[in-house]
C-alpha cells in the first residue's frame, strides 16, 4: 500500500473511531447523523482504496476518495468534503510525493471549493472555522521554513482552537443555524471532524517517523 493511501486510511479510521462522538455533537445542534454519515463514507473509502492498484498517483487517489465520499456520505458534509478533496486532487495530479508547497496549494483549493459549494465563510460555525485557521498556521510554518510534520502540528493545534472557537459563536450556516442563539456554547460537528482528520494525518506521519 502506498504511503498516501495508508494516510487516508488512517484518517478514515480516526473518523470511524469518533463516529459516536461526532454524532453526539450533531445531536445537540443538528440532526444526529454527522458521525454516522462520515463513518459510512470512510468505510466506503477504505473498501474502495483496498481494491486500488498500487501505481496510482496522489491526484488519482484523492479523486477516488472524493467521488466515494460524495456518493456515500450525503447530508451537507458529503458534498462539502467531497468538493474539497476533488479540488485538492488537482494540484496533486501526477504526483507520488507531496512537498510542503503542494500541500499548501491543495489545502487552499480545498477551502475555496468548500466556500463555493457552501457559500459560507469563517465565523459561521462550520468546518471552515477549523480548516481556515489550520491552513493559516500551516502556511506560517512553511514561511518560517519549518518541517512538514511541524507545520502539520501547528495546523492541528490551530484547528483544535478553531473547534473551541465554534462554541463561542452563533451558527448562521447549516442545520445549526435554525437554532439561532441556542447554538451558542455548542461545538460544531463539522469543525470537529475537520480537526480529527488533520490530527489523524499528523499522528500518521509521526508514527511513520518521517516527513
Amino acid at each position: 500500500m502506498s504511503k498516501h493511501v495508508a494516510a487516508i486510511i488512517a484518517i478514515g479510521q480516526a473518523i470511524i473511531t469518533n463516529k459516536e462522538y461526532l454524532t453526539e455533537l450533531d445531536r445537540e445542534i443538528g440532526d444526529a447523523d454527522h458521525g454516522i454519515n462520515m463513518a459510512k463514507g470512510f468505510e466506503a473509502v477504505i473498501h474502495k482504496l483496498s481494491g486500488l492498484d498500487e501505481d496510482k498517483d496522489v491526484g488519482f487517489v484523492l479523486k477516488t476518495v472524493a467521488m466515494t465520499l460524495i456518493s456515500s456520505v450525503g447530508g451537507a458534509a458529503g458534498p462539502l468534503y467531497g468538493t474539497a478533496i476533488l479540488r485538492a486532487a488537482v494540484p496533486a495530479a501526477g504526483k507520488f510525493e507531496l512537498d510542503a508547497m503542494t500541500v499548501q496549494a491543495m489545502w487552499e483549493a480545498a477551502i475555496t471549493g468548500i466556500k463555493e459549494r457552501g457559500k459560507a465563510s469563517r465565523g459561521e460555525k462550520t468546518m471552515l472555522d477549523a480548516l481556515e485557521p489550520a491552513l493559516e498556521a500551516f502556511s506560517v510554518g512553511i514561511r518560517d521554513g519549518k518541517r512538514l510534520l511541524d507545520c502539520l502540528n501547528l495546523a492541528s493545534m490551530a484547528a483544535q482552537n478553531g473547534v473551541e472557537y465554534t462554541k463561542t459563536i452563533v451558527a448562521t450556516k447549516g442545520r445549526a443555524s435554525y437554532l439561532g442563539e441556542r447554538s451558542l456554547g455548542h461545538q460544531d460537528p463539522g469543525a470537529t471532524s475537520s480537526f480529527i482528520m488533520i490530527k489523524a494525518l499528523l499522528d500518521f506521519f509521526r508514527s511513520q517517523g518521517s516527513v
Binding site: K40, I70, G74, G75, G78, R117, T172, G174
Partner: protein, 329 residues
C-alpha cells in the same frame, strides 16, 4: 429503542422494497434508492426527495399529477448526488426536469451537484427551494427558513401543471408561486428516535413541548408548558398568518400534518380551531388536508401549513392526482 425493524442500517432498503411490493404504480431504479412512476408521460419531469423518515414523503407522492421521481437518502440525511442524478436521467423526457428541494444545506448541495452532472449530459434542470417553516427567521445571511410540510403543496400544484403539459419554465414559475404563498409551523410533544442512533433525538419534560420543531427533530423557537389544542393552534396560526399576506375574502388551502405518532383525532381537533380562526377572519378555506404527509419517524406533534390561493393555484390544487399517499379525483 422500540421499533419494528430488522437492522437499523437496512431500514431504507427494506422500506423501499415494501413500498414497491405495495404499489405497482411505482418502480424502483435497480441499484438505487430512487422510486419513479411506472409510466412516465411526455412532460416535464419532477424530482424531489431528501432523507428518509418522512414517509409518505416523498416516495408516496410519486404518481400521476405529482412527482415523477423521489430519491430516498438515509434516515434524515440528504441523498447523494449520484442517486439524484439517476432519478433525473430516469424521468427526463427531453422536456427538462424540475428539482423540488427542501431548504437544508445537505439537500441543496447534493441536488445541485446532481443537477450539474445532469446538465453536463445535456438535460435541462431547474430547481426550486421550499422554505415554508416560519419557526425559523428568514435572512439572506443565514441558511434561511427550513422546508417542511408545505412542500406537499408544491408537489401537488407543480405536478398538476406539468401533467397539464406546461413547459419547464412555467412549471418552475408555478412551483415558486406556491413557495411564495405557503407558510407552515409545527410543534412537538415527544421526540423521534433515529434507528441508527437508538435513542431519542431530544428530550422533553412530561409537561413540556417544543414550539417550531423541525421535521428532523431540530429545535424550534422555544420550549414551553403544554397548553390546550386551541391555544397551541392559535399560537402557530398567529405566526403563520403574520408571515402570509392574507386578508378578508382571500382563499386558502389548509394542511394539518401529523409528525408520525399523533392520532388523527388530535389532528382533527386542531383543524377545528384552524377553521374557526380562518372563518373569524373571513378567510375562505377552499380545501383541507388532514393526515400524516411529512412525518419525522415516530415524533409526536404536528404542523399547520396555509397556502394562499389564486385562481391558477386553486385550479391546480383541485386537479386529479393518483399516488400511493394522495389520490384525488
Amino acid at each position: 429503542m422500540k421499533k419494528i425493524i430488522n437492522d437499523p442500517d437496512q431500514v431504507v432498503e427494506e422500506m423501499l422494497q415494501g413500498i414497491v411490493f405495495a404499489h405497482p404504480t411505482v418502480r424502483r431504479l435497480p441499484g438505487y434508492n430512487v422510486l419513479v412512476r411506472e409510466v412516465i408521460s411526455q412532460k416535464v419531469g419532477l424530482v424531489s426527495g431528501g432523507g428518509s423518515g418522512h414517509e409518505p414523503a416523498h416516495g408516496g407522492f410519486v404518481g400521476k399529477g405529482m412527482l415523477d421521481g423521489a430519491v430516498a437518502g438515509s434516515v434524515f440525511t440528504s441523498p447523494t448526488p449520484d442517486q439524484v442524478y439517476e432519478a433525473i436521467k430516469a424521468v427526463d423526457q427531453k422536456k427538462g426536469v424540475l428539482l423540488i428541494i427542501k431548504n437544508y444545506t445537505g439537500d441543496v448541495l447534493n441536488f445541485e451537484m446532481a443537477g450539474e452532472l445532469a446538465e453536463a449530459d445535456g438535460i435541462r434542470v431547474e430547481k426550486v427551494i421550499v422554505n415554508d417553516d416560519v419557526a425559523v427567521e428568514n435572512s439572506t445571511w443565514t441558511t434561511g427558513r427550513r422546508g417542511i410540510a408545505g412542500t406537499i403543496f408544491v408537489h401537488k400544484i407543480a405536478g398538476a401543471k406539468a401533467e397539464a403539459g406546461a413547459d419547464l419554465d412555467d412549471v418552475k414559475r408555478v412551483a415558486e408561486k406556491v413557495i411564495d404563498n405557503v407558510r407552515s409551523m409545527g410543534m412537538a410533544l415527544a421526540s423521534c428516535t433515529v434507528p441508527a442512533v437508538g435513542k431519542p433525538s431530544f428530550s422533553l419534560d412530561e409537561n413540556q413541548v417544543e414550539i417550531g420543531i423541525g421535521i428532523h427533530g431540530e429545535p424550534g423557537t422555544h420550549r414551553e408548558a403544554l397548553k390546550t389544542a386551541d391555544e397551541i393552534t392559535s399560537q402557530l396560526m398567529d405566526k403563520i398568518l403574520n408571515e402570509l399576506n392574507v386578508s378578508q375574502k382571500d382563499e386558502v388551502a389548509v394542511l394539518i400534518n401529523g409528525l408520525g405518532a399523533t392520532p388523527l383525532m388530535e389532528l382533527y381537533i386542531i383543524n377545528r380551531k384552524v377553521s374557526q380562526i380562518l372563518t373569524s377572519k373571513e378567510i375562505r378555506v377552499a380545501k383541507t388536508y388532514v393526515n400524516n404527509y411529512m412525518t419525522a419517524l415516530d415524533m409526536g406533534g404536528f404542523s399547520i401549513s396555509i397556502l394562499k390561493l389564486d385562481t391558477e393555484l386553486k385550479e391546480l390544487l383541485f386537479a386529479p392526482a393518483d399516488t400511493p399517499a394522495l389520490v384525488q379525483n
